[in-house]
């Protein structure tokens, strides 16, 4: 099994560095609908239902739901040390920026390639938001 590393440029929204296993969601995410103590997605009809986003590099299109619940949701995950390590999104909105700012989780967008094409769940991803770089190591390719 050999690993290949791909380096891509991105746009920093919230700075910092985070690395971990990728978890890809094609649907928007509401952090309020996760278990605050474990990071398991509780939203029944969601494609990530039952999956755990703790310490992952989360790849998703955008956030959803009202500002109060979204921010409180990510904040509670962070206070239990089960927030994602970094977040890669396609469409950014104010509430998600505020959420990431509050818990100091690196947040980037505008990857030079479509993140849903280059990143698969299980890949190892390093997000250096300060430098505007994402490194993806494909497992088993």
């Amino acid at each position: 099994m050999k690993s290949l590393e791909t380096t891509l440029k991105c746009h920093k929204i919230i700075g910092g560095y985070g690395e971990g296993e990728a978890l890809v969601s094609h649907e928007p995410i509401c952090f309020y609908l996760t278990d605050p103590k474990t990071g398991i997605v509780r939203e029944r009809s969601h494609e990530l239902a039952g999956k755990n986003l703790a310490n992952k590099v989360l790849v998703f299109p955008s956030g959803k739901a009202s500002s109060v619940v979204q921010i409180d949701g990510l904040f509670k995950l962070s206070s239990h040390n089960v927030a994602p390590k970094a977040m890669i999104v396609k469409d950014v909105e104010t509430v998600l920026i505020v959420s990431a700012f509050m818990v100091k989780v690196p947040l980037v967008d505008r990857l030079e390639r479509d993140p849903f094409e280059v990143i698969r769940t299980g890949d190892f991803v390093k997000v250096d938001a300060e430098k505007g770089i994402v490194r993806i190591t494909k497992q088993g390719s």
Partner: protein, 401 residues
Amino acid sequence: MYLTKEEERILNGEFGEGTQRAIELLVAIGDAYDAEKMIPISRAHAASSGQEGDLYFVELLANGGAYCKVPTSTNPVYDLEYFDNLFEIPRDEAEVAGRVMEAYKRVGAILSWSCVPYMAENIPLFGETVAFSESSATPYVNSVIGARTNREAAQSALASGVVGKTPKYGLHVRENRKGTVITKVEATLKDEFDYTLLGYYVGKRIGYGIPVFAGISKRPNTEELINFCAMSNTSGAIPMFYIPGFTVEASTIEEAFQGDIPEDKITVTDDDLKRVYEELQTTSGKIDFVMLGCPHYTLRQVEEVARLLKGKRIHDSVSFWVCTSATTKVLAQRIGYVDIIEKAGGHVVVDTCIDEPCWIAYKNKVGMTDSPKCAYYRRFKEAIVSRLRDCTEAAIEGRWG
């Protein structure tokens, strides 16, 4: 984003850590949206909530010595004093709420604890640049008043209140204020509850967007507009809308689209609204509570409750709540509405939102409300949604349906 010398100095912490944290957030938002610069705002509304995330940020600012530079009002938490002898509120929750309220006082906010501050405590004028969070407040000030705000979070609005500025992006840019969806109303809109259903339906259908209405021939009143705003920005993300002829920013449909062709078209029929209503009839039978005032009732709505309850008696097994602002309650007391509602066995409570831990006593109870937003938060076992007069009738009977 370009920063002035003064903004650089705030960012470097020369005006204290609290203001520094506030501008850091604004710079992150500005950079994310490629804003060219910051622009001054004249007022802000922070959708405080009394929850942990809210507490963290407002204390961060307050402990760092931040103080609001422009009038900044606050959203409901809950009236700890009023509830003190009525219910058991978990002590840790009450402590968070108390600390939140104290911290907003320390940052110099207008302690309105109201979700409709644009009615009395913090009213923008046409063309003002502001930062208003809260679901009904954002679309109301953009569309009905014609001030300019983005769909802010509590924290970004508070940060703007402290710095007195916001990054210039989104709805602060004229081209971004154009309509996106032509929304043809074939349904008959008789009262404010029909506007509630319309808002709930349109928000769900459009998701994020700016609807431009066609087919509304009767001028909507204040409460109808408030309900539309609150519901459409809960079931969807509608930061602004146009009813040409009645809202202020565009007098024709063409003007609302700024000469462009609409991206999308939807039609709303009586059947659509009927289906929304039917979906909200989740149960029937015995009820334990009635919860009104989401968003906070206006004086006219409190008067309507008093008229419906005058000389009547609410069923012994039903708790009856009307949430409103402190400002409205003062007038309602003076006029005598509060007395009538209390004599019937109801409560008029200020500073309080239906989405707060203070209602934990009703967690496994079935109730009624006139607000789908109230039902949406799932703080209760069931909340049936119907017109105000259905809610008061059910409160008197002790059952619905």
